[in-house]
Structure formats: C-alpha cells, structure tokens
C-alpha cells in the first residue's frame, strides 16, 4: 500500500489515492528521492491511471510532458505535470524506463491530445518512442539527424566541456574563434555503416505522408489535392515558421506546423550553463516578454533554494511582468491586424505605447528587450529615480486613454468582425484537450489563469478579473487581449500605490548560487500562456535538467484543428490570433 511521501506537493486527497490504489493496485509509488515529489507510475498501467486522473479526479489539463536522462542511474524518466482547470496545485507523475537505445512507452495523446507536440519533442530530443502517437516524427531536428541531442552522452560540435565555466577561458585564456575550428567539414561524423555517397534522401517525405492522413469521408468527388508550403520565409508566419497545408481547392483538409528553423537547443545550453547564466538566456525565449521569462525561471530556482524575495522586489517584479504583458499584447494585436490586412497602421499605433514601456525597461534593466533583470531572491537593481513616476504616468494617464483609442479604432471595424467572428473556432472542450494556454484558452470560455488558479509571488494581494470570452474565435482572441491589458493596468495601478521601500534582494548576490538537489516546476502566467520551467538539480553549479514549457509551442497543438475546413487566407489570421514567437516555439 503506497503512502504519500512527506514532501509530496501533489494535491491528491486520501480518497483519491485509495481510489487509484484499489483500481490499479501497485501502479502508484510515491517518488521518495530527496527533493522530489509526485508519483511514479508503472508504465503498463499508465493509460489506465491517466484516464482515471482525467475523468474521475478532474485533472483535465496536461501542462507539460518532458523526459529526463538520468545517465548515471542508467534510467530515462518521462515527467508529466497535470492540473485541474478549476484551479489548485497539480500532480506530477513520472514513468521510469531503463535507458537503452530504443525506449518505448505508451503515448498519452489518446487521453490528452495536448501531448502531441510535446511527445514529439521528447522523441526528437531524447529518443523515447511513444507507442500510439498518431504522428511521431522529429520536430526540431530534421529527419535523418543522427542521435538525440538532449541525451547526456550527445555532444555538440566544438564540444569543450560538460559544464561552464570553461577551463580554456581563465587563467590561460587565449581567444580562439569558432571559425578557426571549422576544418572544412572535418567535424562531420556519420553513424556506423552509413555511406553518404549515393544516398537519396527525402527529408520531407515523412511530413507529406503525415499530411495525407486525414478523414476522407467528407469528400465525394475525387479531385486533385495539393500541398502548399507557407514559410519558413513568409512575413505572416511571425518568424521562421513553416506551415504545410493540404488543400482541396482553397479549402484546408489538413495542416501541419513545421518548426525547428530557429532551434538552438536552448535546453542543452541551459544544462551546460550555471544557474545564473541561464537568466539572460531566458530573455531569448519569448523575446517580446523577457521579464515574464525571467520571472518563471527565478520562481523555479527560488523554490528549490527555498528563498523568498523581499516585498519591494516582489512589487517590482509584478509591475514589470504586467508591463511586459501589456507590451506583448500590444504587439500581438498589432501583428494580428497586420495579418488581417490592416497594413501597419494599427501595428504602429500599438508600437508607440510599447515603446514607452520599453523605455522604462531600458531605464530599469539596462536593455529594452533582453532585460535580464530578475535574480534569485530579488531583482538586479532598484528602480532608478523618476522611474516610478514614469510608471504612474503611464498606468494612470496615458495607457488607459490610448487603449480606449486603439479599441475604438479597431473593435467595431466591419472587416475585422467579418474576418474574425466565428472563424477559427476553438471550443472550450478542445481548448482544454489540446492544452491551450493563456488568452487562447480564456477566449474559449475557460477562466483559467495561473495568477488566480495557483497564485505565485504576490498576485493574491491584487484585485483583478480574469478576462474571459465565450466564443473562442479570432475576434474573441483579439478582444480578450484588450481586456487583459486593462486588467494589467489595474494591477500596476494598485502595485505602484502599495509598493514599499526596502531591500531588493533577499541575500547577498553571488555569482554561483548553491541549489540543493531536487526538482522544481515554476510556472507563471506569461503573456502567451502558462510558462513553466522544470528544473532538476543534483547539487552541482549547473542544472541537471532544464526544461521550458513554452506556451507558444504548445498552443500550436490546436493550430491544425482550428484551421481545418477554413480557407488558406484564414490560416494567417488564426496563426496571428494564437500569437507565437518563434524564439519560444523552437527554443
């Protein structure tokens, strides 16, 4: 009989545990490793337990799926984080399998379709095969790539050491540039028995085959279907993002997002970095809202270090995070209007207000976009003189006025209404199933906001509403961003009134923090949705595992289903309404 571990953060009641234990005897074991929490599930019973968790216990929202390579223990672990959309803490459960060349575990896509892209990511980067996954292809690396880069024994080109700081930099640091290391292709290696000559390889075949799989019953007539690739170089895809669509005339039969063109293996870099070094790297994820990224990462590490920032730092953090949300939503609104054909006028109106916010970031953090402002236990520096007044001016005077103006400018526009209303609908049920997050989820009628569902930092002190709209179409996703901006302004107004004086760091800043062994999952409500950082420490200066639950990436799971049945031109609008940033999608 399993008993909950003392450190368990999982919000199972005793009744829930006994229900699972009677139905699936022996399936659940509490994770007893020090610093860990949650449950280890026997892989043969994974599907059954997951169904029970979803249907009987109400954990309907799969937040994150990832794998962890425990090389010394010769074990691979797949980690799931699930939550209730009604709020409250979640449950983390893990499946452990011996670490081999070929590893297989059952796919959770039939139960939580939101796992689709995430399981593909785990397959691509770790080589864990998910049996039952409808479309298990590589996602970031190209078909034909040798190896699985997130495995601990995989080394990148020009590999120097497992972890930074590199010994070649000090005390005998004579600069070597990467160009001089490139020996005209000498760094290419082939798998055993592979002969590059004479190989004909079509990396797109798997994609096009997957695209041809669609429900054929709707179409009576046998017509030619064509595959159209939008992107990766296309102004409306918001970056290097490619969309492969299967068309019947102009009607979309099937759609697959193709990504990885901006993939730099952020997580591998993160595991080479020390904890402090990762902070500026998180800026580069969703580069339009770097303060929020800092926030999530700082929370995750602070959880493990068990420190709490002083009050003033918390207020500064909230102000910065909410200003980030405003600037991000302004950008999203502007970009969506661009996609709808309102070429650049609304975009520039939105950019004006964003510019004023970035001016504040520049004064506070030193950089407009790559803020790198949060530290473990506080923030990097106090607000310079006059900044608080600027924030007050913005939040009390300018922003409310200008937001009303932009809203008046756009919300009644007939073209926007025609292009937006009842287009690209994501129903509430589907939004949860596909693990949609943020404005995408809330526009579908689910009032789920991490700031309310599981308040972090000091969000429980503020009075604000969770914006929600009911139709889940493009227009609602546009309007909900206006609503969220108004709520963010409300939070900032309260915060600047309440902000106390005092220290901004809980401890003396050190260049290498000590993080006790364990795991932690820190999540914040980023502008694009739930942004989570899953970190495993083994007590060394570098994280053993550093995973980002990227909202832009996971929101794309529902992109295909939203577009099927619409016209090609609507793809652009639907994508604009999801609001992705490729730095975060590809990582």
């Amino acid at each position: 009989m399993a008993t909950p571990a003392p450190l368990s953060s999982s919000e199972f009641s005793q009744r829930d545990i006994s229900l699972l234990n009677t139905r699936y005897p022996g399936a659940l074991t509490p994770d007893g490793r020090s610093g860990y929490s949650g449950w280890i599930i026997d892989q043969s019973q994974l599907l059954g337990v997951a169904t029970a968790l979803r249907d009987d216990l109400g954990f309907d929202y799969l937040s994150s799926v990832t794998a962890v390579d425990y090389l010394p223990q010769n074990q691979m672990e797949v980690v799931y984080h699930i939550y209730r959309t009604t709020g409250g803490p979640g449950v983390v459960f893990k499946v452990q399998i011996p670490r081999e060349e070929k590893m297989e575990i059952p796919s959770l896509v039939p139960i939580y379709p939101g796992a689709e892209l995430q399981e593909r990511e785990a397959w691509d980067l770790f080589g864990v095969k998910f049996i039952g996954h409808p479309d298990l292809r590589r996602i970031f690396m190209w078909e034909g790539f040798a190896g699985h880069p997130m495995r601990k024994d995989w080394h990148e080109p020009y590999f120097e050491e497992e972890a930074k700081p590199l010994k070649s930099r000090w005390p005998e640091g004579r600069p070597v540039s990467a160009e001089s290391k490139n020996q005209y292709g000498d760094n290419i290696s082939y798998p055993d028995g592979f002969e590059p000559k004479g190989q004909i390889f079509n990396p797109e075949k798997a994609l096009y085959d997957a695209l041809q799989e669609y429900s054929k019953d709707e179409i009576g007539l046998e017509t030619d279907r064509i595959i159209v690739n939008m992107g990766p170089q296309h102004p409306s895809t918001h970056g290097v993002f490619r969309i492969a669509v299967l068309l019947d005339g102009e009607k979309i039969l099937n759609l697959k997002p193709v990504m990885g063109y901006l993939h730099r293996n952020h997580e591998k870099i993160g595991e080479r970095n020390t904890y402090n070094m990762n902070m500026p790297y998180t800026d580069r994820l969703d580069y339009l809202s770097s303060m929020s990224n800092n926030f999530g990462y700082a929370l995750a590490v602070e959880k493990m270090m068990n420190i709490k920032p002083p009050d003033r730092a918390e207020y500064i953090r909230v102000i910065m995070a909410e200003m980030t949300r405003i600037s991000n939503h302004l950008m999203a609104i502007g970009a969506l209007l661009n996609d709808l054909g309102a070429f650049f006028t609304p975009m520039l109106y939105a950019l004006e207000e964003r510019e004023l916010i970035l001016d504040i970031f520049e004064a506070v953090a030193g950089s407009r976009m790559m803020c790198n402002y949060f530290r473990f236990g506080g923030v990097a520096r106090d607000l310079p003189d006059g900044t608080l007044q600027k924030i007050k001016d913005l939040s009390f005077e300018r922003l409310p006025r200008k937001m009303d103006e932009i809203e008046r400018f756009l919300s009644e526009n007939e073209i926007i209404r025609a292009r937006g209303i009842e287009q690209g609908v994501l129903t509430a049920e589907n939004a949860i199933r596909y693990s949609a997050a943020g404005p995408l989820l809330r526009a579908s009628g689910i009032p789920y906001d991490v700031r309310r569902a599981e308040p972090y930092s000091i969000y429980d002190r503020f009075d604000f509403d969770v914006a929600v709209r009911q139709n889940g179409d493009i227009y609602d996703r546009l309007m909900i961003r206006f609503e969220e901006i108004h709520q963010s302004i409300r939070i900032i107004q309260q915060a600047v009134k309440q902000i106390p004086d005092g220290p901004i760091m809980a401890m003396k800043p050190v260049y290498q923090v000590r993080v006790p062994p364990g795991e932690s999952y820190g999540r914040v409500e980023g502008p694009k949705g739930e942004l989570g950082f899953y970190i495993i420490s083994n007590g060394k200066p570098n994280p053993w595992r550093y995973h980002v639950r990227a909202p832009s990436f996971i929101n794309l799971t529902s992109f295909g289903p939203m577009c099927i049945g619409h016209k090609v031109a609507d793809v652009v609008a639907v994508l604009g309404s999801i609001d992705i940033v490729l730095g975060e999608v590809d990582r």
Binding site: K164, P165, L166, S168, R169, W170, P171, E172, G173, R174, P175, S177, E179, N273, T274, N276, M277, N278, M279, P280, Y281, T345, Y349, E352, E355, L356, D359, E362, A363, V364, A365, G366, S367, M370, N372, A380, R381, P384, D385, K390, D393, L394, E397, R398, E405, R408, F409, L410, S411, E412, N413, E414, I415, I416, R417, P509, Y511, Q512
Partner: protein
C-alpha cells in the same frame, strides 16, 4: 449589428485622421523645436506626446539611460604621473560568470618565481559573442569591468577586442554612469579608510 454598415470603419478612420492632424498641431505648438532639440526628443518619448514619435536617427539620438548596457569595457585609474592603473586583478570571476563565455583572460606571472600576480597579461572579449547581459559588471568585486554606452559598433570584420581597445578611464565611467560611480566611490573610500584605520 443593425447600424449602418461601414460605421465602424469610418470611426476607425476618424482616429487615423485625428492622429494625422495631431502631429501638425504639435509641430505648430512647439514652433519648430519639436525636432533636433533635447526637449523635443524628451517630449516625443513622454506621456503627453501626440502624433508621430519618430526620432530621426542618426541626426537625432535618444539619450540612453544610465543603466543602459552594451559590451563591457575595462576601467583604469590614472595615478599622479598620468600612468594607467588597471583596476582588473585577473581574478577571473567575469570569465566564470559570462554566459556565452566570451571573456578570455591570461593571468600575469612573476617572471622570476612564476607565481601569479594580480594583473591581466591579456584580456580579450569577443564582442560578437557577447550578449550584453551585464553579469560581468554586476559581479566584478573590483568595479573593474563595466558596461559601455556606446552602441554604434558596426564594423567590417570580427570584433575581437583586446585590452587596449577595452580600456577606458575612470573619468569616462563617471561621465556615463554618474550615480553608480558615485555610490561605488563612496563605498570604496569607506572601505579603504577602515582598512587604513585597522592598519594603524
């Protein structure tokens, strides 16, 4: 909507039209001082700005705030004879904390004994790899490495900066970051005073 079709578009166009005229109204109100003056630039970045925001770079430049950071430089003090005294002791903390690992330091050694001495023999920053995060400046215990304000770095080749290129005087540092420099100088003076007291 049972209103007249196109009303929403017209309303939106009204906003555009208003913005269009606001620029000229502001121009008139400022009597031509809206451009190429410091006040004009400050006004355009302020809460009351109306109309277009555009700053005509490079003819006009927005003043950068004190905390602005772009590529580190090394601070040296000048002694009475006008000789450069590098503050850097080649302790290597900046190289260890640098996220993209773009700082390379060769520590000097005493030629006779071979023991390391606190002085950099070579200090190189690969500015093309530098991500301008400012962690080196933040964690330097000697206030020897600081982030610069000069953001016009375009060049025709790789920017690998050696110690000559990186060294800038403490006066320059005090000029670009007066508040920080003042705070650090008082702190260091107090520390030196307490050390002198203890020595006596």
């Amino acid at each position: 909507m049972n209103d007249m079709f196109g009303k929403g578009i017209l309303r939106g166009l009204g906003v555009s039209l208003k913005r269009f005229f606001e620029t000229y109204l502001d121009d008139l109100a400022w009597m031509g001082k809206r451009y190429r003056t410091d006040e004009g630039i400050a006004h355009r970045g302020g809460k009351d700005a109306r109309g277009i925001f555009t700053v005509q770079y490079p003819e006009e430049k927005i003043p950068v705030p004190e905390e602005f950071r772009c590529v580190p430089f090394l601070v040296y003090d000048e002694d009475i004879n006008g000789l450069k005294q590098m503050r850097c002791t080649s302790c290597g903390i900046c190289a260890k904390v640098c996220p993209p690992q773009c700082i390379w330091i060769v520590r000097s050694a005493d030629p006779s004994t071979g023991r390391p001495i606190p002085d950099p023999a070579q200090f190189t920053i690969d500015a093309d790899i530098c991500m301008n995060c400012g962690l080196c400046a933040e964690f330097c215990p000697f206030d020897a490495i600081k982030m610069d304000h000069d953001y016009e770095l375009a060049s025709g080749m790789r920017n690998i900066y050696n110690m000559d290129r990186l060294s800038k005087s403490a006066k320059y540092y005090e000029y670009i970051r007066p508040v920080n420099a003042k705070r650090e100088n008082t702190y260091r003076a107090a520390k030196a005073a307490s050390r002198a007291e203890r020595a006596e």
